[in-house]
C-alpha cells in the first residue's frame, strides 16, 4: 500500500515539476509548483516526518508560493508572451541537466548501502523540538536574526528611489521598452514633494 502511495506521489511530483518548467504561462508554472510541493509534503508524511510536512505546507505552499503569485500578478506577467531561448541553448540545457542527473545518481548510489537504524520516531514535534532547542539553540536564534535582516532588506530594496538605481539607457539595449510609467512616477514624486 505504501509503495503504491509512493509511486503515485512520485508521479505527481515529477509530472508537475516538468510542467513547472514547460508551461508557458508563469502563473501555471507556479501553480504546478504548488502541486509538486504538496506531493513532497506527502512524501514527508510517508517518511514519518509529520512536523516537517506541516511546516513545509505552511512555509512553501502557504507563504512562498503566495509570494510568487503575488509578484507575478503585481508585475502583470500572466501571459505566455515570453521569448524563448534558441533551440541550441535548449538542447544544451537538456544535455546538461541529463549529465547532472547521471553524475548525481552515480555519486549517491554508494550511500544506499548504509545500514538502517531503528529507534524512537524522530519526526514528531516533541523529538524534533528537543533537538532544536538543546543542540541547535544558537543557530535557531540566529536564523530568526536572518529573517529579520531579510525583512529589513526587502523593505529597503522596495523603497529604493528610482534615481539612485538609475542609468536605464545602458540597461535597456532593446528600445521597445515603454518609459511612460517611470516618467509618471517622477511626476507623482514631484507632486509629493510639493505637498510636503
Amino acid at each position: 500500500m505504501t509503495l503504491y502511495l509512493f509511486y503515485f506521489l512520485s508521479f505527481v511530483a515529477i509530472f508537475s515539476a516538468l510542467l513547472v518548467v514547460f508551461s508557458k504561462n508563469p502563473v501555471y508554472s507556479v501553480l504546478y509548483l504548488i502541486i509538486t510541493f504538496f506531493a513532497i509534503a506527502g512524501h514527508y508524511i510517508l517518511l514519518n516526518a509529520q512536523f516537517l510536512a506541516a511546516v513545509h505546507v505552511i512555509v512553501y505552499a502557504g507563504a512562498i508560493m503566495v509570494l510568487f503569485l503575488y509578484v507575478i500578478m503585481l508585475l502583470n506577467l500572466n501571459q505566455d508572451s515570453e521569448p524563448h531561448k534558441s533551440s541550441l541553448a535548449k538542447i544544451a540545457a537538456v544535455i546538461c541537466a541529463g549529465t547532472m542527473m547521471v553524475i548525481i545518481i552515480g555519486t549517491l548510489r554508494g550511500s544506499a548501502s548504509l545500514p538502517a537504524k531503528d529507534g524512537v520516531n524522530i519526526g514528531y514535534v516533541k523529538e524534533l523540538g528537543n533537538v532544536l532547542f538543546n543542540e541547535f539553540l544558537l543557530p535557531f536564534e540566529i536564523s530568526s536574526i536572518l529573517l529579520l535582516a531579510a525583512m529589513v532588506g526587502v523593505v529597503m530594496v522596495g523603497k529604493m528611489d528610482h534615481k539612485t538605481v538609475d542609468s536605464p539607457q545602458s540597461v535597456n539595449g532593446n528600445s521597445t521598452l515603454d518609459n511612460r510609467p517611470s516618467t509618471m512616477d517622477k511626476v507623482n514624486e514631484k507632486e509629493l514633494t510639493i505637498n510636503k
Binding site: 531561448k85 541553448a89 544544451a92 540545457a93 546538461c96 549529465t99 547532472m100 553524475i103 548525481i104 552515480g106 555519486t107
Partner: protein
C-alpha cells in the same frame, strides 16, 4: 634616570620632534613648532652634558643597546650606542651648537611659509648626526651617514622652487654618493676581514691584520670621508651647497656634517696608524685641499662662498692633523672650528638678513655703523679663524702646525701658507663688508636694521665660545695642561703608543708660534692696506681680469673640467645605451609582452560576455565537473 635610557633618549628626542612637527604640518602654530624643535635639542644637550660629566668623573665608555636589528647567519648588528670621550665631545658640539642654530633659525626663517618644515628637517638632521657619532658599530654610523646626506639634500634644496638650488642639492647628494660607495665597500671589507662590524670587535684586533688589507680598508673609508668632508677631488659640492638657508650652512656645512669624515677617521685611528700609506694619502689630500681652497677663497665675492671655501680649507687642515697622527689636535680644531665657523655663518646670515638677501660683498661695505652687534661678533669669528691669540683658532691651529712640523717641515710650510691665506681672505671679507664706504643702494641702506634677539643671542654665545673655546687645549708650553688631549687620550691610546714622536724643543715651538703670529699680522696689515686704506673693491662682473686672477675667480675651472671629463662622456654613454639597449632592446621586449597579453586577453574576454543565462550555464557545468571529479577520485 639610568644611563642607558639617557643615551637612547639623546637621539630619540630630536627624532620625536621631527615626527611631531612633520606629522602636524602647517596646522601647528609656528611658535609651538619652534618650541618643540628647540626644546628637544636642548634636552638632548642636557643629557649630553650629564653623560660628559659622568665621563669626566672617570667612568669608562658608556654603552646602550636599543634592540637587535639584523641577524643573519654569522652577521649580526644591533642599534646600540657608544659614548666615549670622542663621541661625547661630538655630542656636546652637535647638540650645543645645534641648539644655538635652532634658536637662530627662529629669527632667520620667521617669515618663511615653510617654517615648520624647516624646523622638522633640522631636527631630523640632528637625529641622524647623533646616530652617526653615537653608533657603536659601522652600520649605525652608516645609517647616520646616509641620513645626514639626505637631510643635507633636503635642506640645500629647501627653497625648491628655484631650479639652481635643486641642482645644487642634487650635486651635493651625488657627490656624497660617490664617497659613500667607498665607505660602503670599506665596511664590507671590514666585515670580511674581521667578521664583525662592531667597533669593539674590530679596532682592538687591527694589529693582527696585514698592512695591505688595512691600507685598502682605510683608503676606501677615506674616500667616504672625502665626499662627506669635501676634500679634493669631491669638494665642489660644498660651495654650491650654500644655496640652502644660512642656518643650514652653519649647522650642516660648517659645524657638524662636514666634520663627520674627520670623526670617522679619528674613530678608526688605529687602522690609519697601522697603514702609513693611507696616512700619507690623508696628509697629502688634506694639504692640497687646504691650500687649494684657500686660494680660491681669495677671489670670491659672495659672502657665503668665501666662508664655504674657508670651510673646505679648514677641513683640509683637520685632515693634515689626522695625517700626521695628531688625532686629538684634529678633533680639537674640529670643535673650535665648529664654534667660530658657525659664528661666522650666522653672522653672515645676520648681514644677509639686514641687507635683504644681498650676498655680494661688492655691494656691502661700512656696515659697522648699522649693525654693530653683528660686526662685533663677526670680528671675533674672523680673529679666531685667523689664529690671533688668545682666540680659539689660535690654539687649535697652532697645535696642528706644531705637529705637522714635527712630522714633516714641508707639510708645515704648506699648511702655514694656507693658514696665512686664510687670515688674508677672512680680513678681506671683514673689511669689504664692514669697513669703508657703503656701496649699497640708498634704498637698501635705509632699511638696514640689526637682527632680532633670537638671532643675536646665539651670535653672542658663539662669540664667547670662539673666544674661550681654545682654552680647553692650551699647550704645556704656554702653561696649560692641554686638557682636551688628555680627555681624548683613551680613544687614541694605542695609536699614540705606536706613533713615534719627535719632541720639539720649547724654543723651536716658541719660534714657530711667533713666526706664524707675526706673519698673520702682516697678512692682516696687507689686507687692511689694500681694502681699507686704498679702498680697493673687487672688479665687477664681466670686467677684464688678469689670467691668474681669472683662474682663481673661476675656481680653477674644476667644475668645468669635471663636466667635460666625467659628466659629458657619461651623457654620451647614457645616450648610447638609451638608443641601443633601452629603445631597441628592453622597450621592444616589454612591448612584446604587453602586446601579447593584450591579444590573449582579447580572446579570453569573450568568455565574460555579461549574459546572466550564460553564466548560470557555465556554473552548472562547473558543478557537474566538480562532483564528477570528487566522485571518480
Amino acid at each position: 634616570m639610568s644611563t642607558g635610557a639617557m643615551i637612547c633618549l639623546i637621539p630619540l628626542l630630536p627624532l620625536f620632534g621631527f615626527v611631531l612637527i612633520s606629522l602636524t604640518g602647517k596646522r601647528l602654530v609656528k611658535g609651538f613648532a619652534a618650541l618643540i624643535a628647540c626644546a628637544s635639542v636642548l634636552v638632548a644637550f642636557a643629557f649630553a652634558v650629564a653623560l660628559f660629566v659622568k665621563l669626566l668623573k672617570g667612568s669608562g665608555p658608556l654603552t646602550a643597546t636599543m634592540f637587535q636589528w639584523i641577524s643573519a647567519g654569522n652577521f649580526s648588528a644591533s642599534i646600540s650606542f657608544l659614548v666615549d670621550p670622542l663621541s661625547s665631545l661630538m655630542l656636546l658640539v652637535i647638540t650645543g651648537v645645534g641648539f644655538l642654530i635652532h634658536v637662530y633659525s627662529i629669527g632667520y626663517m620667521h617669515d618663511d611659509e615653510a617654517f615648520n618644515r624647516f624646523m622638522s628637517y633640522l631636527n631630523l638632521f640632528v637625529f641622524f648626526m647623533l646616530l652617526l657619532v653615537m653608533g657603536s658599530n659601522y652600520l649605525v654610523m652608516f645609517v647616520g651617514w646616509e641620513g645626514v646626506g639626505l637631510c643635507s639634500y633636503l635642506l640645500i634644496g629647501f627653497w625648491f622652487k628655484n631650479q639652481d638650488y635643486n641642482d645644487a642639492a642634487n650635486k651635493a647628494f651625488i657627490m656624497n654618493r660617490i664617497g659613500d660607495l667607498g665607505l660602503l665597500v670599506g665596511m664590507i671589507l671590514i666585515f670580511i676581514t674581521f667578521g664583525s662590524l662592531n667597533y669593539a670587535d674590530v679596532l682592538p684586533k687591527a694589529e693582527a691584520i696585514g698592512t695591505p688589507v688595512l691600507t685598502l680598508i682605510t683608503i676606501l673609508l677615506f674616500i667616504g670621508a672625502m665626499g662627506k668632508s669635501a676634500q679634493i677631488p669631491l669638494y665642489t659640492w660644498l660651495p654650491d651647497a650654500m644655496a640652502g638657508p644660512t642656518p643650514v650652512s652653519a649647522l650642516i656645512h660648517a659645524a657638524t656634517m662636514v666634520t663627520a669624515g674627520v670623526y670617522m677617521v679619528a674613530r678608526n685611528n688605529i687602522l690609519y696608524t697601522l697603514s702609513p700609506i693611507a696616512m700619507q694619502l690623508v696628509l697629502v689630500i688634506g694639504l692640497a685641499t687646504a691650500l687649494f681652497a684657500a686660494t680660491i677663497a681669495l677671489a670670491q665675492n659672495d659672502i657665503k662662498k668665501v666662508l664655504a671655501y674657508s670651510t673646505v680649507s679648514q677641513l683640509g687642515l683637520m685632515f693634515v692633523a689626522l695625517g700626521v697622527g695628531a688625532y686629538a689636535s684634529g678633533i680639537f680644531h674640529m670643535v673650535t672650528h665648529a664654534f667660530f665657523k658657525a659664528l661666522l655663518f650666522l653672522g653672515a646670515g645676520s648681514v644677509i638678513h639686514a641687507m635683504h638677501h644681498e650676498q655680494d660683498i661688492r655691494k656691502m661695505g661700512g656696515l659697522r655703523k648699522y649693525i654693530p652687534l653683528t660686526y662685533f661678533t663677526f670680528l671675533v669669528g674672523v680673529l679666531a679663524i685667523a689664529g690671533i691669540p688668545p682666540f680659539a683658532g689660535f690654539f687649535s691651529k697652532d697645535e696642528i702646525l706644531a705637529n705637522a712640523f714635527r712630522q714633516n717641515p714641508v707639510a708645515w710650510g704648506i699648511a702655514v701658507l694656507a693658514s696665512l691665506l686664510t687670515a688674508f681672505y677672512m680680513f678681506r671679507l671683514l673689511f669689504l663688508t664692514f669697513f669703508g664706504k657703503t656701496r649699497a643702494s640708498e634704498d637698501t641702506i635705509h632699511h638696514i636694521h640689526e637682527s632680532p634677539k633670537s638671532m643675536t643671542i646665539p651670535l653672542i654665545f658663539l662669540a664667547i665660545l670662539s673666544l674661550g673655546g681654545g682654552f680647553m687645549g692650551v699647550p704645556e708650553l704656554l702653561g696649560g695642561g692641554n686638557w682636551i688631549s688628555g680627555f681624548l687620550s683613551p680613544v687614541f691610546a694605542r695609536s699614540t703608543e705606536l706613533h713615534v714622536e719627535h719632541h720639539l724643543s720649547h724654543t723651536t715651538e716658541f719660534a714657530l708660534m711667533g713666526i706664524i703670529v707675526v706673519f698673520t699680522l702682516v697678512m692682516i696689515g696687507l689686507a687692511y692696506r689694500r681694502y681699507v686704506a686704498k679702498a680697493h673693491v673687487p672688479a665687477a662682473e664681466g670686467a677684464p681680469l688678469t689670467p691668474a686672477h681669472k683662474t682663481i675667480y673661476n675656481k680653477y675651472y674644476v667644475d668645468e673640467i669635471y663636466d667635460a671629463v666625467i659628466v659629458k662622456p657619461l651623457y654620451w654613454i647614457s645616450k648610447l645605451f638609451d638608443i641601443v639597449i633601452e629603445r631597441s632592446g628592453i622597450d621592444r621586449l616589454v612591448n612584446l609582452i604587453g602586446d601579447s597579453l593584450n591579444d590573449w586577453s582579447g580572446i579570453f574576454r569573450r568568455i565574460q560576455n555579461g549574459h546572466l543565462g550564460y553564466y548560470i550555464f557555465v556554473m552548472v557545468l562547473g558543478v557537474i565537473l566538480i562532483v564528477a571529479f570528487s566522485y571518480t577520485r
